[in-house]
Amino acid sequence: MSFWRGNKLAAFSPSADENAKRLTEMLGDADDVKQRKFSFGKTAGIALYLVTLVDSLRVEEHILRPLAENKSKNPEDALTAIERDDAADYEAAMNALLIGKTLVFFEGRTACLICGTERTALRTITEPLNEKIVRGAHDGFVENLNTNLFLLRKRVQSKELVIEFAEKGERAKKQIAIVYEKEIANPELVKEIKRRVDSINAEMIYSAGHIEQMIEDSTLSPFPQFLSTERPDRVAANIMEGRIAILNDGTPTCIIAPVNFITFYQSPDDYTSRPLSGSFYRLLRLFAFFIAVLLPAFYIAVTSFHLEVVPGDLIVQMKGSVADIPYPTIVEALFMEMTIELIREAGIRLPSPIGQTIGIVGGLVIGDAVVSAGLVSNFTLIVVALTAIASYVVPSTEMNMTIRLLRFPFMVSASLFGFYGLIFIMMVIVIHLCKLESLKTPYFAPFAPLRWKDLKDTFIRRAIWKQKTRPTDSMPLDETKEEGSREWMKE
């Protein structure tokens, strides 16, 4: 609390000049602090604002002009700014000033009036680039918190939707909003998340990722314990399952807890499409998970230890292809994996036309040349390429990173111990998943602990009307999701 040292600043002075001067001093006489003097009948006063943050038109229209026109008896009534508040002390006044409000001081009064005059520079609401879907809503969060909350409120028009604000950041304040459905979300969890958010004591909150690291259960785990999303429909659906969303001003990303492993594999597309196709793509994604994590390791184990598991017809080609390569398979595979990671990273950083070029040069040229040069075998190339494709199937960026990381221990272990290496790492990861908790709820539910009833929205997605209850992992107060939607069938 370095701003408020010394108690002489506790109360406002009756002199408007004095108040304005003090606040200006506190801001280090910054050049964008503007004082506008006005007089309303006999009372003089000062409007104080940061010219870089306010919408000048609003200051003019709603504060200065009405005061100059002098139509009503007392100055408060004259102001036409809709959002108005009284500041209790300098701290409150300063905070208001810093988010773009205008302070109005009247001579002879020890009070400070706050008027809402913020300027908002809005990016248009577009579909998030990293979470595209085919059917369903195409709106996405933006950097402005109020807009995001508007999108949520608009989507969940329920009197039970609770939005709670917290201001965090010791030096530079940022608003954080905690959103949940109070009749569904477990109050214990809400309390817990508030406790954790309260304890954040950072200088400044830069992004949702910062909050996540401050409040997640286990930071060193490779698995994300918060679902990050920029899609309002996804947030709304999760809130309706009793989960709690945290948004912050400045990032379009919303983080959601408690979540479990399977949440990262649920895409809004699954629910908008038909149950059969929804289930098919869910299964495909989970299958892709296994390919992305296990395929290169399995390939390495087979070529370096258990070549005899390959069926007879294939073994000749495979053996021939691998035998010509001077390096062990693990080196080949790691080399190709690193190449793909390089292409990916370079592709993100570069402007998009060049990014595509990199993709072509990297993918086609290197891929082709590396085989004809005899550095990498054809089979390795197929395996690595398939793995790369499979790892991008998961509809969540964090889980995608996790998958790409997880494959490396598997590959190393498989090159050392073959199939045993695979099962060793698999056991470690499953144990880790069994231990892991997201906001004190088991992360690997409904698989561990096994809850048969909740499996209806995991490997497959049952028809919406068959999902009569919410998943229990978020410990919802009310488990019923719907009943009797298909009553018409009986008539």
């Binding site: 258990h306 005899e308 598991v309 069926p311 111990f417 199939f419 045993y420 231990k435 690997f444």
Partner: protein, 366 residues
Amino acid sequence: MDEGVKTKKTISAQQLFFLILQTQIGVGVLSLPYSVHTESGKDGWISILIAGLFVQIGIGVIWLLSSRFPDKTLYEFAPLLLGRLLGTIVNALYIVFFFIVAAQMLIVFLYLTSNWAFPHTPHIVFAVIVVGITVYLIQENIRIIARFHVLMSFLFIIVLILFVFIIKHLNVYYLLPIGSEGAPAILSGTKQALFSFAGFEFLLWLYPVTKASSKAKWKAAAGASAIAAVFYTLLSAFVYMFFSLKKLNHVPEPVLYMVKAVELKMIERIDLLFLSIWAIFAITSFMSYMYLAASGVAKLAKAKHHRKAVYVLAVLILPITFYTANPEQSVNIYEKISTLSTIFLFAVPAFLLAVAIIRNKREEST
């Protein structure tokens, strides 16, 4: 969230079922048909079935005993029944027994592993890895262990699917005439098979932490053992239908040879896949026994958490496995532990039940 911890009832009846099943099905899978066959020939599957029935009696005894002390494990109620000194001795003996069983499992695991897949890798490497993974799991509470065991149980589905592919290779006539080996041979095979069912005594420790009615706990434990019995019986019947008696004498791990016969278009040498699944079953059993031993040591040392005991036991078990690395020794150990196990699995619980009835000791659930 925390209510489970407060009341100590942390696992469900379903988890109890899988914990016991996973503990029972372990290293024995590969060689049980062979070791029973040495006693009772082609009627070995009957021996195993009978062993399964005996185990049901054992479970009944344990259940009766545990339901008298619904909030206490054996480590806690043994001193109440036998007096402080005697109870502590019984506890210590159980700890040693569990530790030996765990060590034996590890030895068999290492032996078979190097025999079948990794002849050049030193034993100590796999020992360290397996013990490391075990420590990683069992330093946690029973709830986490239960979650893991439940998940791993789903590998059974793969095993059962493999069984379907074996059926066409089977010859039922090898089993006929049923029972021709005679009752004494069959019973001596039963004695040989009993040890494979070790794991049901876990109920003595799981009973107080399971949140279910007393009857549900019995159903879970008896059900798990019944499934294990059916599985083992089926497995050995398959083996006896697959190999003729003459051939069987030469294959100490007949199950792997049998699985090897399976031919799928996609993948060959299914035995390697089966060996990996078996490794998981073996390690889960090993984990259970290490957990039992560690929690006993922690109780003896009056420690709040069993974590430190786990570390101590993990360090202790490594040199043992390193020392006894040749197959003859491991077979010897197996014979001895097999006899020991009948005492610890059946005799001691029965004796404690008798004491409890005579001294009329009984506690109500809190």
